[in-house]
């Protein structure tokens, strides 16, 4: 594998394509493929809504703070019939917008995007909205996620109640 020097060739349009692909993999429940978008040291965070968006999961209670191992376990779980909260799988649609490259730092590209995600199950539809903060980098010529941090803009999870799918 050749380290790609400075991931400059990637434009916002390339990154949008990548985020739209990511959203599609989640919405169609192709979660093992979604997991492959992460680096070996990739992490996935959803902070609680009364802490700073940049808060650390080491000092604060989050909703989700997965290292790469637990993220893999989360995907395994969600693909089982015994993940009752998602059986049958809910119907999802992520809308990803307002994509901005905020920083190019060494091999990392930092990106923010707004998301609105609708989830329907058993005739009930909930809306989740917020900002997704990404640390992306390039591996083997492809964009990969080192950190995805989904920061909810709502006051808590009332009435959504749960984050049983991938936000």
């Amino acid at each position: 594998m050749n380290a790609v020097p400075e991931a400059i060739p990637f434009t916002r349009s390339d990154i949008e394509d990548f985020l739209f692909l990511e959203a599609d993999l989640i919405d169609t429940w192709r979660l093992p493929e979604w997991l492959d978008l992460f680096t070996e040291d990739g992490v996935y965070y959803v902070p609680s809504t009364d802490v700073e968006s940049g808060a650390s999961p080491e000092n604060n209670l989050f909703y989700i703070a997965d290292d790469r191992f637990r993220l893999g376990e989360r995907v395994k779980r969600l693909m089982k019939r015994t993940a009752h909260a998602e059986f049958p799988h809910s119907k999802l649609r992520h809308l990803v917008s307002n994509v901005r490259i905020t920083e190019r730092l060494g091999e990392e590209i930092h990106v923010t995007a707004a998301f609105i995600t609708h989830r329907t199950k058993d005739g009930v539809t909930d809306v989740y909205f917020g900002t997704a903060l990404y640390r992306l980098l390039v591996r083997d010529g492809k964009l990969r996620i080192r950190e995805k941090r989904s920061v909810l803009s709502s006051d808590g999870l009332r009435s959504q109640g749960r984050i049983s799918f991938i936000l």
Binding site: V46, P47, S48, T49, D50, V51, A55, P57, E58, N59, N60, L61, F62, Y63, I64, A65, F69, R70, E73, R74, K76, R77, K80, T82, A83, H84, A85, E86, D122, V124, D155, G156, L157, R158, S159, Q160, G161, R162, I163, S164
Partner: protein
């Protein structure tokens, strides 16, 4: 108000049957009765000392349908105030938490101290000279406000028994949590605020139910097995207790790691040294027997009506309120020793999130179960009763029996209907 007097709780001790009418989970009249006879009368959890560390710290919180302002004044004294301006009613503090020298109502500008006293108001010369010093001019305190080992409670019934009397046998279990640190326990930053589309009593039952783990939490148990290095070979085993006054507990051993203090191979040699040191400290302070109980047993504690303190792979403090008969709002916090080192804190929070909360590997499946129960109650005209009889004929009910749940319903029935089940 008059309630339909058909029994909600039906007990046949001889045949070992205990049933609860599903109407209790759907009937708006019953919710009204609960508001009047339970939430207006019982001690309700407000918050923990550690949430207000410094003079001037405050949090606003919804408790028992009221909006409450919880403050620490410049003398260090805690106050529980009703967050409504005595002048015209506006909520005086509109922030969730912070630090302030005083609170000014933004409507007409009245200014109150952290103790609730009216300090000054615009146009003071339009009022009698003694107006600011009148009790009725201040933010009103909740009728009763008492604490036990750092846990603060309020009660809206001025004639209620004392908090310690109310807690009764549950105190023993709160001590087992409070004793985990010499310097005190602390609420970790960050609140999980979520909701369930189900009656609040379903979460009471679920919070200390040891019976549902194998099926409802199958994926969590799968996850534990796949965890690097695995667990300790300990069987889930223990007792369930009705503690009286509606409180109950399941107390049991389990194969998962406890930051205080049950080591698992997944934590490695470093982790073992840390856990051993924590355990030794407990032995020095309390002797082996109590140290073992604190370190090695898990407790799912419910304090009537709506406080859950689960001291399991981490400690969660959780309250929940009905907003209508089919919807509850939940707040959950993580509690930890204030002097915990960073490595143990990491383990604790990692543990917390693998099981607990709306994004965990277990709680979402509980939420799903409760919502599916609520959905199933649509058939209550034909299938009207829940069964809560497991372990009823045993001398010592197991952690996965339902003695603790029956204790809750006995108290509920006593308070709502004035009769012993």
């Amino acid at each position: 108000m008059t309630l339909i007097t058909d029994a909600i709780v039906r007990v046949d001790k001889e045949h070992g049957s205990y049933n609860v009418a599903r109407r209790a989970f759907v009937d708006p009249e019953i919710l009204e009765a609960e508001r009047e006879k339970i939430f207006d009368k019982c001690w309700l959890y407000l918050g923990h000392d550690s949430e207000l560390r410094k003079a001037g710290d405050y949090v606003t919180r919804s408790v028992g349908g009221r909006t409450v302002l919880f403050t620490r004044d410049s003398q260090g004294q805690l106050h529980a105030l009703l967050n409504t301006c005595p002048h015209r009613g506006a909520r005086v503090c509109r922030e969730r938490a912070g630090n302030a020298k005083s609170f000014q109502c933004f409507y007409h500008g009245w200014v109150f101290g952290l103790d609730g006293k009216l300090r000054n108001l615009p146009g003071e010369d339009g009022y009698p000279a003694d107006f600011t010093s009148r009790t009725s001019s201040s933010l009103q305190p909740v009728p009763r406000f008492e604490a036990f080992r750092g846990f603060n409670f309020v009660c809206f019934d001025p004639n209620a028994i004392s908090l310690t009397e109310y807690l009764g046998n549950a105190k023993e279990y709160l001590e087992l949590v409070a004793d985990q640190s010499e310097v005190g326990m602390t609420i970790v930053g960050g609140t999980q605020e979520y909701s369930i589309r189900a009656n609040w009593k379903l979460l009471v039952e679920n919070s200390f139910d040891g019976y549902h783990a194998a099926t409802n939490h199958a994926t969590y148990l799968d996850y534990l097995k796949s965890n690097t290095g695995g667990l300790v070979p300990i069987k889930l085993e223990g007792i369930g207790r009705d503690l009286g006054n509606g409180h109950g507990v399941a107390e049991y051993r389990a194969p998962w790691g406890r930051p205080i203090a049950q080591w698992i191979p997944a934590w490695g040699e470093d982790g073992k040294q840390r856990v051993d040191a924590l355990y030794k400290k407990l032995v020095d302070r309390f002797g082996t027997q109590r140290a073992d109980r604190i370190a090695l047993t898990n407790r799912n504690l419910h304090i009537f009506p709506n406080l859950v303190i689960n001291d399991i792979m981490a400690i969660t403090v959780r309250t929940f309120y009905p907003t209508d008969q089919k919807f509850m709002a939940i707040n959950a916090w993580a509690l930890a020793p204030a002097d915990e080192n960073q490595a143990d804190r990491n383990t604790r929070l990692f543990n917390f999130l693998e099981f607990l909360g709306p994004g965990g590997f277990a709680t979402p499946d509980d939420i799903e179960a409760l919502e599916q129960c609520q959905a199933g109650f649509a058939n209550l005209g034909e299938v009207g009763w829940n069964d809560i009889s497991k372990g009823m004929l045993k001398d010592v009910p197991s952690y996965d029996d339902e003695a603790q749940t029956r204790g809750f319903w006995n108290e509920w029935n006593k308070r709502v209907y004035g009769v012993q089940a």
